[in-house]
Structure formats: C-alpha cells, structure tokens
Homo-oligomer: 221 residues x 2
C-alpha cells in the first residue's frame, strides 16, 4: 500500500538545517495496524505527513499502491488524500468558525455528498466518539479532549481505507482513550489500514506492528 525508499527530509538551511528524516525505508501493507513510537522531535509527524500526502520528501521514493508519487502533479496528491485517507492531526486543525458537526461533515462535502447526507454521517460519527451533546459547539467551546474527538470523527466519517492518527489520545483520559482505541481496532477488523503515532505504551501494545523513530531514522524489531 505505502512504500518509502531511502526518503530524506530536511527543514531550514545552514546553520539551522534540521535533517528530520534520514534515509527512511519501509513498507506498510493493506490491513495492517502499525504504531509509530519515538522521542519528542524524532521525526514521527514529519514521516506521517509524507505518508498522508500533505508533505513531500526532498529525496527518495514514495509509492502508493505501487504508483511512484514523485512525478505526479499536486492534484493527484489531493485527490488520493480526499478519497483514500482519514488523518487525525496532532494539532487537530479544526476550523474555528464552524461548529463540530460542520467540521466533521466537510470531508464528505468535499467529495460531493449532499449537505443532508454529510450532516447525517457527521452526527453519527460524533456520537460514536461520545460527543452527542456537542454537535453545535465551536472548537473554542469544547474541552481539549472534545476537540481531539472532533478531529478523530472528521478522520473517520469518510470511511477511508487508510487512517492516519498523530497521537489521537494525547488529550484524553485513560477510559475515553481506550474507547477510541477500541474504535480503531474495530475499523482494523473491517479491513482498514491504521497507522498511529503514540507516546502511550499501552496503546502501542494494541497495534500489531511497531516502528520506532529516533533522530530521523527508523528501527523495527
């Protein structure tokens, strides 16, 4: 499904050059449940953003379903992203002027679904993450963990085959975090591919494979 071949990514320039990913190679197959662990600043989000087609490597090959993404125009990236990927961002990236329901409906509206259909699916997904009474709250009228759950709902509403989650339970108590993890396990059971960055070793132990990131390099047992 996803292949990295000798991928490098740097930010900034001398003397502030940061080599965030160094010669990273791995494959993720359809239906896998992968946890990505590593210290703060080690390159996990940078790696995930390339998997999620919202950033590009400086060097090396990125293959999606065998397709070499390197020479494709931006609209191929955004089309694949909209149709195939649900992404829970580390900083949530909710739109502050819209309420929870509309934020979650947006990916479906972008795919051309009707307003009625998109809102119904958004309502169901918000309920599934425990936000039944918060549909019409805007992000700044929600607690940190509630905002995180809106971000999760938005990633799941489109029933995408690939779900990327950058620390999806960081703002949640143990019980609520466990419920979100159960949800991901159910989706994986339905055949969806899940790639999840987490700092929580209990959460990581639920995944079937662990990739560790340290100072821009990856390690697997």
């Amino acid at each position: 499904l996803i292949e990295f071949k000798n991928i490098n990514k740097t930010f900034g320039r001398e003397p502030n050059l940061v080599h965030a990913l160094k010669d990273v190679s791995f494959k993720i197959y359809p239906g896998e449940f992968v946890a990505i662990l590593g210290p703060s600043g080690s390159g996990k989000t940078t790696l995930m953003n390339i998997v999620g087609l919202i950033d590009k490597p400086d060097d090396g090959g990125l293959y999606i379903d065998g397709l070499n993404m390197g020479d494709k125009p931006d609209k191929v990236y955004s089309k694949l992203r909209n149709q195939k990927i649900g992404f829970v961002f580390q900083k949530f990236n909710l739109i502050s002027k819209y309420d929870a329901l509309y934020n979650v409906a947006l990916p479906l509206l972008h795919r051309g679904k009707s307003y009625k259909e998109a809102k119904e699916a958004a309502a169901i997904t918000l309920d599934r993450v425990g936000l039944e009474n918060r549909h019409h709250h805007k992000p700044n009228e929600l607690s940190g963990g509630q905002q995180q759950r809106v971000a999760i709902a938005r990633a799941l509403v489109g029933e995408s085959p690939l779900i990327l989650a950058d620390e999806p339970t960081g703002a949640l108590d143990k019980k609520t975090g466990g419920e979100i993890l159960d949800l991901f396990e159910d989706l994986n059971g339905q055949g969806k591919t899940i790639v999840m960055i987490t700092h929580d070793l209990d959460i990581a132990s639920k995944a079937k494979r662990i990739i560790r990131v340290d100072d821009g390099r990856i390690f697997e047992d």
Copy 2:
C-alpha cells in the same frame, strides 16, 4: 493560598447551557503539589482558568492569599497573574510570529526586565527543558512536544511561586515527560506550589494530593 467557596461556572445559554463547575469548594496551601484528574470534558481546564485568574466564576467566592477577588478590578487580576503565576496552557498559546526564545522571554519583558536579562533567562530555561538547539525556531518549526516544552519554559522562566500546568506532558514521550516531572518536583522542593492537570496516572502518583473532577464536581480521597 487559593480558596474556592461554592464556585459555579456555566457556558452558553438554554438549550445549550453547560454547567461546567457545580458548587466547587477546596483550598490549596502554599508549597503543595496537587494533581487534578478526571474525564475529558469534566471541567478541569475551566477550574484551572479560574485558579489562574484568566477566567472568573459566575457564582461563589475566589480568595487568593485571603483576598476576596470578587470585587477587584481587572488590573488586580492581571497584576497578580503576571507576578505570581506561571501557567502552562493545554493548547500552549504560543505566539506564532516570535521564535521560542522570544516567546519564553515575554513574561519577563512584561515585568519590566531588560531585553538582555530576559533573553538570558529564557535561554537557560529553554536549555533546561532540552531545547538547546531550538531557540530560534518559530512554533510552526517545532514538533508538538517541542512546542509544549516552550510553553513549559515560558511558565517557569519567571520563577513564579505558583505554577499551573494543564496536561504539561500530553505531547511528550515517557522519558521526556519524566524529565519535566523531575523539574516540577525540584521546583516544589524549592517551595513553589504546583497544580497540575494530568491524564497520566504515573505522573499523578508523583503529586502529594489528588483532586478528582467529574461532571463539574470535585472529589478527594
């Protein structure tokens, strides 16, 4: 040091009225190390924002060092806040156009320290949270956990007697989170009062007292 007497706080209005804090009463004494736990949405941040003098109760009494805050003008709140409180916010609240060093220097500049003095103290504090090589990175050039550590450094740079931390290790791996906790324990050993919201039971166990929040009410063992 801090006393809540029958404090209530609501948001919104019917039919969307949220009763975020319900008849909350407790005291926190100088030098304590208190952990606040509870489910997502239970009212912890709302409580902390009142302790931190950035929000006010709708009902009930707030006393700081015996002073009834209820009838004081806003400039008494902001003066106390600037001089006495270091606050690590759940969403960090960094200023995106300034680099890490300037963000951390700001509380000292607000107190009238010289630019040179403020930057020196900021540099030392950033180093203490492991960000030696990131002084001139802006927030969007930092990882999630690095941004959190800038927020922590900013809360600590003024050596305030009261440190409030809303989920200060939420974006950190176990090791880095442990280092931050050691830092808080050192500061508590120096006599500073620490009030910390956390979802992590290991972190909570390091505190000397636990206050639980559930659906707007507080409970203590």
